[in-house]
């Protein structure tokens, strides 16, 4: 992949268990977020790092946008919605500053 070079290497390796921060910046004021509400606070597993990209939360406000590591993170689908079929999954692109070690 030809993602732009990053300043720091990925913190999480494929297979790492992570938790998405249970954070709701939209309750504190204007913001731009690429972390869907339905995965906030949820446990997931890193599939792979996708490269580093300018942080869209800054880009949206024309602020200097440092590059952040982006990951494909996998979630089991049924626990998110309390319905669905075991084994089905949802895979979401999530930036590193939204992830914590689980």
């Amino acid at each position: 992949m030809s993602a732009a070079p990053e300043s720091s290497p990925p913190r999480f390796a494929p297979g790492a268990r992570v938790r998405v921060k249970d954070d709701w910046p939209e309750t504190r004021g204007p913001c731009h977020i690429r972390t869907p509400y339905y995965v906030r606070g949820r446990m997931g597993q890193v599939v792979r790092p996708l490269g580093a990209f300018p942080n869209p939360e800054d880009l949206a406000f024309a602020r200097p946008a440092p590059r952040r590591q982006l990951y494909h993170v996998l979630f089991d689908q049924p626990p998110i919605w309390d319905e669905g079929k075991a084994g089905d999954t949802v895979m979401v692109e999530i930036f590193e500053h939204w992830l914590e070690e689980a």
Binding site: A3, L50, G51, W81, G87, T89, V90, M91, F95
Partner: protein, 193 residues
């Protein structure tokens, strides 16, 4: 397709273009070039990529390694386009692409997203009840096939690489491309003979 633009919005667009021109930010030529790229993009490019991946092992390897390069090789114009990720369906795993936040879509190889892809109904239901959505499209999957919904939220655009259907042995890439639809590249359907 969306409704045609109103006279008022066209007038506003003219003023915006004139202002950008006057400030030297964007030239008419650049706008025409972008427009040509957008007009050239159609699901035929994506279909060609899939058919070639089914018939050419080297191209398949390139597609899985570097989607953008593979798209360029198939005639897509990827200048300034986001990264292209490829999601390969297998007998045990089916991918379905959605953008719950807005309507991110691999336009360079599929053209404009269809209205349903941008609808609130699809965006909210695809992540919540993907099997019900697929059933409405007439897409039957075996019980042991895992559905992996891919929410396109950031700097990649995603295309599904469907499985080549049985009964297409010996087909040319051209004939194969004809059964690969836009909907199959999003994952709501699978190619059929």
């Amino acid at each position: 397709m969306a409704a045609p633009p109103s006279g008022a919005s066209l007038a506003l667009l003219d003023k915006l273009v004139a202002a950008l021109n006057a400030k030297g930010l964007v030239s008419e030529t650049e706008i025409a070039e972008r427009q040509a790229i957008t007009d050239r993009a159609s699901p035929e490019i994506g279909a060609r990529m899939v058919a070639r991946a089914w018939t050419d092992p080297e191209y398949y390897a390139l597609l899985m390694r570097d989607g953008k390069a593979a798209a360029e090789a198939a005639g897509a114009s990827m200048a300034g386009a986001p990264e292209l990720g490829v999601l390969e369906n297998t007998p045990k795993q089916h991918h379905l692409v959605v953008c719950t936040l807005c309507s991110c879509y691999p336009r360079a190889l599929l053209g404009y997203p269809p209205g349903w892809y941008k609808s609130f109904a699809y965006r909210s239901r695809a992540v919540r009840e993907p099997r019900a959505v697929l059933a409405e499209w007439g897409t039957q999957l075996a019980d042991d096939v895992e559905i992996r919904v891919v929410d396109s939220t950031a700097d990649y655009r995603w295309m599904v690489l469907p499985m080549r259907p049985a009964g297409t042995e010996g087909w040319s890439a051209e004939k194969l491309a004809a059964i690969v639809t836009r909907d199959a590249l999003v994952g709501v359907t699978v190619p059929r003979v």
